[in-house]
Each structure stands twice: as C-alpha cells, then as structure tokens.
Symmetry: D2
Subunit: 341 residues, 4 copies
C-alpha cells in the first residue's frame, strides 16, 4: 500500500545500504572505535563548520534525548521543554526514568519562546525556596518541532542568548534536522545550529538511515566517561560500525542534504495537492510533515488505499491526520494520492 504514514517507513537510502555491503567484511574494532566512525565524525565536524565539535553516535531518538539530557544535567536540575515537546509527551517518561523532571512551558506551534524561558528562570531564582525545587538546567527544543515547524534564526539566537546568559546548555533535537535545513522557509543553516546550540543531534533514522543519530557537542562539553554512561544505559552497540558507515555515507557528497531536499520537494507537491483537493489544514508546515483535518468517514475510506498517521480527534466527527514525505517518496505515490483524495 502507498504510505505517507511517516518518514521511517522504508529501510535505508540505497547509497547508505551500498556502503554497508561494501564494508561488510572488513575486520574492525567494536564499540565505535573503528575508522568509519572516525571518518564520519570528521565529515560531520566539517559540515557543521565546527572543528572542535565532539561527535558521538547513538541508535535512536528517544535514546539520544535520554542520554544527552541525563548526562549533561546535574542531579538537582531538570530540562525545560515545550508542553508538546517529544521528551514531554511521546517518550514514555524516558527522561523521568533517569531521575530528572521535564519542566513544561507553554508552546506556540510546538515552539518555546525565549522571553518566556528567561522569565521562568528569573522567577525560579526569585523564589526563596528554590532549593526545594527542580533547577532549570537545560533547554530542550526540537527543530523541526513535533508539528513540523521551524525556529527562525532570530528565534534561535534569542534562545541561545538566554541560555548562555543563564549558563545552561541549549539542546536541539534534530531527529528530522535534514528536513528543517532543506525547507524553503528557513534561514537557519547547520553551521548556525552548531554555533548557537551547546549540543544537538543530526537525525539519521528519519532521514535515510536504518538507525542512528549523530550527537554533536559543540563546546568541548561532552560529558566525561560518556562511553561508560552509554553502556550503563544499555545503548552501546558492539558493532559501532553500523552507525559509522551509515553516517559516513550520509555525509559523503552531501547525500544527507540531497535526500532531505527531495523529501521537501515532495512535501511541497503534497501541500499543493491537499490545497487543490480543498482539504483543510490544521497546520501547514514548512517541512515534510503536514497536518490536515478530515471527516472521520473520509479517514476511514482513504485508509483503505493510503497509509497516513492519526494525530488527534478534532471535534466529534473529524480527525487531525498527518501526511509525511521522506527520501523514498515518489512522484507516482503523490499522483496516486491525488487520484484518491
């Protein structure tokens, strides 16, 4: 069946898989100590324009959020996130599992506001009993957000200023980073992110890899004994090459950006088709995820021919659903969708 259900419906981009096949028989040391990991890290540093960056590979998004947050926070600290942030809503309490609170702030289109973050921290320290409270120790944002929206460069700069003034790290969840960078409506580059964030990750799982996320610590701030922390959380791969080879492929000849651009091109066509068919948008995003409102009867009908994602109920008879494109979305699939919508 044709699927717009998510950006992780297919395996890996063929070029990524090809590299796994080509390197398969090389005997390599385990646990990420191999040459492919080293090479991929170098290529990522170059792509970020951040020669001093420390890069680490992990397997999935929730795992990465859990490990980055729990290793960078000190014990008395929690992480500020939008109420709709992935870490706050759809990770089964993975942050709290490590003993840390997610400090919810209001959101607009999935985004945090720098002034609001600053106000929250100021009020926190104004409270005479703040030693009885959870200290704000990090700011978590996602880019694209859970709604596919993007921070502008000015918004990121404002958040970065607040974080640096308050001396707490700014962490950007880039599970879908490629789609943000290749959006037609962004003024934010990878180098900007490396310059403005203290730590972020470049999503592989949702952008062409079988699995894998590349964490970038931009300020020599990788936690000490990071490998031990990863192992302790059950997340250290014996065959670290699986991640190194894939990221090496993604960051060779700009593949990561190219396949992200393809998904964006497909998303723009998707939006045009949805408009053409008079479908009401819940949120028209500048990236690869589009949220529209459908009558429940239409949802039921359409599901027989096309896969897409349930988001939430919208009144008694309608539902918000999500259509996502990805590197594997084809022109033919869009035409099919047009024909059945």
């Amino acid at each position: 069946m044709i699927s717009f259900a998510s950006d992780y419906i297919a395996g890996a981009h063929p070029q990524v898989l090809k590299r796994l096949v080509e390197t398969n028989l090389e005997p390599l040391p385990g646990y990420g100590e191999d040459v492919w990991c080293a090479g991929a890290k170098e290529k990522i540093r170059a792509a970020c324009g951040c020669a001093g960056a420390q890069v680490e590979f992990l397997t999935g998004g929730t795992q990465t959020n859990q490990i980055v947050i729990s290793t960078l926070l000190r014990e008395h600290e929690g992480v500020i996130a939008a109420r709709t942030g992935h870490v706050n809503t759809h990770e089964a309490g993975a942050i709290e599992y490590t003993g840390h609170k997610v400090l919810e702030l209001p959101q607009r289109e999935g985004k945090l506001d720098a002034a609001e973050v600053d106000g929250y921290i100021r009020d926190f320290y104004a409270d005479e009993n703040h030693e009885h409270m959870v200290f704000p120790g990090m700011v978590y944002i996602s880019h694209p957000t859970e709604y596919g929206t993007l921070y502008s460069k000015a918004e990121l700069e404002a958040l970065s200023r607040v974080c640096r003034a308050r001396k707490i790290p700014l962490f950007l969840d880039g599970a879908r980073l490629g789609y943000g960078l290749m959006s037609r409506d962004t003024d934010v580059t990878l180098a900007d992110i490396a310059a403005l964030c203290d730590v972020f990750y470049i999503g592989g799982t949702k952008v062409g890899a079988l699995c894998g996320e590349a964490v970038v610590f931009t300020g020599r701030n990788r936690p000490p004994h990071f490998t031990n922390a990863v192992k302790k959380r059950g997340a250290l791969l014996a065959k670290g090459r699986l991640l190194g080879v894939q990221f090496d492929a993604l960051f060779t000849d700009g593949l990561y950006f190219e396949l992200s651009r393809h998904a964006i091109e497909m998303a723009e066509q998707l939006k045009a088709i949805l408009h053409e068919k008079g479908v009401e948008f819940y949120l028209e995003s500048p990236t690869n995820q589009q949220f529209v409102i459908l009558e429940d009867s239409r949802v039921e009908e359409l599901r027989k021919q096309v896969s897409f994602g349930f988001w939430e109920k919208y009144g008694p008879d309608r539902t918000v659903v999500r259509f996502a494109t990805g590197w594997s979305t084809t022109q033919e699939e869009l035409e099919f969708l047009r024909s059945v919508l």
Copy 2:
C-alpha cells in the same frame, strides 16, 4: 520573635511530648513493630471509621508522597497532579527521582477538576500511540491544598467516581489534614476521606508532632513488601516508636482534632485582624494559611517584628505573603500582630 511563618515553627504539642517522656525507657522492638505503633494504628482505623484500613507511619511529607506514589504506581504509569501540587513544584523532583512522571493538569485555587481529569484520561486512551506515553496511574490531590483551599464533599465524590471508573487510585495528601477537617467551611469528614480515597495520609509534622505522617491504605491495597520498599528508600526508622507514640497521643481523646480546631479559631481571628487593617487578600482560605498582598516597604518594616512567609512577587512593588496559624498560636501573638500591622 513572634512568628506566623508556618505551622511547623514549634516542637510538638506538650501532650505529645509528655507521652514520649513517659514511654521513653520502655524496651521496645524496632522498625515499627512496637505496641505503640500497633495501638496508634488501631486508633486511626477507628477515627477513620475504616476497620480494614492498613496504616503505616513515615517521617515527613515529601517522603510520604514519594513512597506512596512510587510503590503504588506500576512502571508504565505517572501521577496526575495539579500544576501547583506540592509533588509538582516544591519537592525537588522527588517523584521523578523514583522514575515516574508527574502529569500536570490545570488548577483552580489549587484544586483539580474531576471532569478535566476524566477528559485527560479519555484522551490518553484515544491516542493510538499511547503505549509511547506515560499512563495515568494515580490522581494526587492535597487537602487542604497548597493555597489552603478545600475540596467540597461533592468535588471529592466526583474525583473518586472518576478514579474508580478508571481503576486508578485517588491519593490525598493530608499534610495539613487536621486544619481541613476543623475548618468552619467544610462538609468533609475523616470518614468521608477514608471512604472516597484509596490512600491518604494524616499529617503529623504540621499538626502537632515533632515529625510523622500516618498513611492510610483504605482498600487492602498496601503494596506488598512495603517495609522493604521503605527501607530501600532510606526511610525506615530504627526507633519506629517515635512515630507510634506521637500518633497514639494525637489520636487519644481527640487531641488531633482539638489542636487543629484551635489553629482554625486563631486563623479566623487572624482573618478578622487582616480585614480590620485593610490588608488586601490574595486568597482568603478556610483553613490555617492566609495569603495577602503587601507593599514591599511594608513587608520590610513588618519583618522586623513578625515572621511570615514569602510566597511570590506581585507586580513590581508588592509581594504575596503567607500568614499561618498552628496549635501553638496564642491570643497574645494575634494581639501583637494587630498592634504592629
């Protein structure tokens, strides 16, 4: 200095201390296996009108919230609480320390609304991805709330109905329970609470004891190996008698209710004095805590003669402050306050 700073400014009610002195030399087994613990449990069961209740003694409020919540929740569950709930704001992340999320809901005057709780749970199960989320596994309320307000019997009944329909326990934090029960504006009795809640505690620390909270499991639902769980959390007292003797004294001849009633009588006089002096109320509560708004200059002046609690800033030049009465508050102290306000 005269103090209205809190309801834990003095030691224990003299009658409580007297019992500690009288029983001091009795050789008793440790860890709560003594006759005074047994006797106090029996008296509490009687006071609750709940012969089958299981009673356990713990040392302090945050500890009690942490232990009750973390032993009753299953691993995939979190606890619903008002945004202003003590467990959500002023316990340094003690719940998250045990690996569980506090699921924030909006509050009015510190209270949760049964319909909103029900809606939250319904929406949770409607989400197709709810296995990726934290399950609502308990409802936490405080009575009196952090603002000194009280649930009506009808409100408690509504919450209880929701919880029982959804098969999750209703937990009432009664750190200041006596002041709620003795309020002039309540229709809720201790027996009502025992009938409507699945677990609650009767606060000792803030109601006349040196320390101690009596947890009441009302439905044979004390977690198995509870002593082990308490020990594992570092909370098992070697001399459990310290808690048993105090609660025995508090529940002999109605002392707990009598000293609570005294604090309420003092609070009513306090409110009258504040009104008489034209002080603006932030929240005039039916219990022993009153929240008023003072000019910052007045705060500074008054602090030289009287202790009271800072609550939060209220605009640029004013502050919300808290005055609390307790079992040890005297007529003379109120007269003094009147003379300097």
Copy 3:
C-alpha cells in the same frame, strides 16, 4: 590485519545483508509491528519447539540483560549471578542503574552451581531480618559463559528445578547461544533451553547479525506493557524491521546454526594449532573462545600481525589472551596464525 579479537569484528553474514537489501524499499509500519518481525518470531517459536513462546527483539546484549532483568524483577528483588557474570562485571552497572542489585555467588569456570543457588535462597529466607535485604528474584546464567564454557543438560535441569521450586525465573543470556548449541561437547538443544528456562535470548550481534537479540519468554510471562518499558529505556527502534529482517534471515534454512557450526569448526582447528605450537591454555573451551597464556614479549610481537583480545595479567611476565572465531573466520586466517605463532 588478520583478527581473532572477537566474534563481532565483521558486519553481517552476507545472507542477512542480502535480505536487508531485498526488503529495503517495502513500506512498513514502525516499532516492530511489521511482517518481518512477525515472521521471524514465528520461525523462532518453531525452532524452539515452543508454540506459546513470546518473542521480542532488542538491539544489543547489555540492553537485553538490562530490560529483561528490570522488567521481570519486582521492586524488592535482585538477580543472582556468578561473580564473573557479564551483568556483574562488564556492563558498567547497567542492572544497578535500574535500581536492582546483582547478588553475587561464587563461580566455577563461569558457571553457577544449583545447590549453591538453592542454599543461598534457603539461607536468605532463614534470616529473620530478610525484609531488610534484597530478595533473590531471578537467576541469571550465561551459556556459553564469559569463559566459553557450557552447562550440561543435567546442570541446567538442576538450576531449573531450583528456580521452579523457589518460584523465581531462570534467565539464560545467550549472546553467543549459537556457538553453545553447535559445540561438539554439548547435550543441550535449543528446545531444552526453551523448556528449562523462563526467559532467554538468542544472540544475533555476535552470531552473524549487524545487531539484534531475540528474547524468548517461554511461559506467557512477557511483562505487561513491554513496549512501553522498552521505550522508557530508550531502546525501541523506530525501524523495527532492521531486527525482524535479520532474524528472519538467520532462522531461514537453519542459517543461524550453520554459521555457528562453521565458527565451531574453525575453533576446533584453532585449538589444534595452539596445541601444536605448545601454547599453554588458561581455559580450553568447547565453544568459539579460547583463552591462552602468553609471555608478554610474545604478545607484543604477535600483535604486530594478528589481533586478539587482552583478558588479564597472569603473573609479572605473562598475560591471558583470548582468541575468538566467528562466522567470518577463514581457513586462510588460521593458516596465517599457524605461520606466525
């Protein structure tokens, strides 16, 4: 360089990789809900001769130990393991990270003794203060062990009897299970393991997969909300297909057993070469890992041409080193080793 450093030096067995390539473009649901996971589970149930088994796929060995142990133990329980057990020594405290103690018992050649386990549990319950202690709640064994040794069927039966009499699960870590099953010196079959253990896993990472372990709950004892528990620990793969496709390949036409048998054949030849060269064995195992004692000078010399593993110092001038074979070990590599030893 020729490497006998471990059994995870190469990528995946070519047949496994081929299946990943062939299925790569199929649009599939995420999180293990795909047809390949379903098919692989069915094939594993068949191979185990256990139609009612519940099979789950995880990514790596430490992760699997951590998740199985922490989801099956109750809060007051710990896991019994040999002092040399992987969970006790080389997993960075991953079990303790989940709040559970590893209860060390003595070992012989990496193995636990059933009578000793039974005695430990008996003594535990004889202690009048056992509610102050960590309850024995599971027995963990590895097969092959960390030393490459194997339990006999009689030994496994004895452990199983103790566990069932004591009503605690027996958990077998099969990170290298294939090499145990294909050993020339074993009377234990996969069906025996499924019959005698309550939960075990079939290692993929060290036996031909890029990553992946298949957990088998043999008695309808998969913990409730297991997906939520996996997500909460950061271990749920978005593209669960990565595991399903690989295990489908491994359990098609007996590939898992065939490649294990090859590694054993290579190991037998390796042992012969080591004997022929007069190398002293520290422990001559019936599986794919061999432990020998070399002069430090010889270690240094040999390392220039061959990779192998450091195990531990053995007196001032000698070292225990490990040679491991795997599915990718070739006749030519053995000949080369013979030539340089």
Copy 4:
C-alpha cells in the same frame, strides 16, 4: 522483659529528651536553619578537632549511607565495601536504588584490608575494557563493623593512604561510633577519624538519640546543592530542630562519650558473665555487641525471659545470637541475665 536485643530498644537518653522539652516552644525556622542545628554543628566541629568540617544532620543510618554515597559518587562510579558491609547486605538495596553498584571485597571480621583495596583498584585500571565496568569511586567501611570489631589506627591510616593516592573518598559509617571510640581496645580517636576519612557520620539513633546521624565532611567536600539532594530523596525534615537539639545535647559536656562509655562498661561485664557461664563466643568484640553460639534449645528457653538478637544458624542444632548493651543497660539487667543463663 529484659532486653539485650539491640542498642535501639529505648527512647532517648533523658538529657536529650530534657532538651527537647526545654526548647519545645521556641519558634524556629524549618529545614535545619535553626540555632540549635548551628550550635550542634559547631560543637561537633570542635569535638572532631576539624574547624573546617561541614556537618549535616540526617535521620537514620541507611538514609545517611544512601545519601552520602549517592551524592559523592560520580555517575560511572560504585562504592567498594566488605561483603558483610551494612550497605551490601542489610539495607534492602538502598545503594543500588540510587543507580550505583556496591563493589564487594572479601572481609575479615567485618573489615576491609588496605592492600586488597589497593590491588582491586590497580587491577581495575589494568583492564583494557575498564570503561565497560563500574569505576571504584569510594571506599565504605563501618567502625565498629557489623561484627562489633574495630579498625586500628594503623589500619585506618593504610586505608586512608590508599584512598588519597587513588583520589577516592574514604567514608566511615559510624552508626555506632561512640561505642568504638569508648572501647578499651582502640587507639583511634574522633580526631583521628576526622583526619583520616573524607566523610563519616556520628551515629545518634544507636547512641542515645531518638533518631539522627551527624554527617561530617572533613575536606570542604560537601556536595553542592546538598539540601536539594536530601529533599529529592525525601529525607529533609521540616522540623530540623529535632536533630539539632538532640545533637546539641549529645555534644554538651561530653554526654555522647559518657553514655557510650557506660555501654562499654556494661559490655565488659556482659562478656565476663558469658565467660563465667561457659558460653562459647562466635566473636568476642571490643565494643557493645557480643556474638555467642547457643544450643537451639537454650535459645528457646532463654527467650522466655530475655530478648536478644538472632544472627545466623550455626550447624543443625546451634545458633549465633547477639547480645547488645547500650546507654540504658543497667547493672540489674546484667544480674538478671546472670541469674537465668
């Protein structure tokens, strides 16, 4: 009934209770910010001969071990302890609950050997895979030990040297410290302990208080945000005065030492009686606990008139039991024991 069951069978020393009564009505700030806590800390610093010491009060022994260890260890570290150490055996896994491993070493009469500790740490760092292991991050000893035995000054010095050379803290559990200091067979003073340990605690619960332990950080090494850490673990008392007043009393006019000396005097007479009666010693300790071996029939008979502690079975027909003295033990009680033994 006459009881030698433990050193926590009675309430508080009368002088301690008297001070609680005398100060009961003073209005004081909460959470340990009161004058009695401040005064007690000053007196303890003086008694330790360590003007720069940082003193903190906690409620019980397991709680103190849990908090000290989990706040001083870094995430990748565990704590070395004797196999028989209280933290390893009788605290329900309270250390593991905080995510840290107890690293067991062999013991002799409850004690660790400095050379063995040093060897363990050396071997740890020699392992090439030590990033996959739990780092030794602290050494825990108890003094008196769980067997009532004592380290000599030379033994403590040796342990201290090892810890300082390895840059890890030495932590002494002094739940029964007074009985160690007042033993007739010790050359170790409180000042020695303060000089040789990085952190230790002076037990109150078992030495004359209702509850309370005084933690002494000897090298400006109190963890930052310690109050927050205590609150997060549910251990912060609202009425911190309860601990401050008691320790103030214990450290006024040498009461702590005086009542410990009394218990030792009683223990010496107890030993004489046991010898006189031909009772076989399991371990004759220099402090207030004595371990003897009794026929099971004699145990049963004696229990009708005297309380004492079960330790462990000793062959089929005999049992090791413990007799403990304390500040409340009287000459009459000893005479009674003599009469019925």
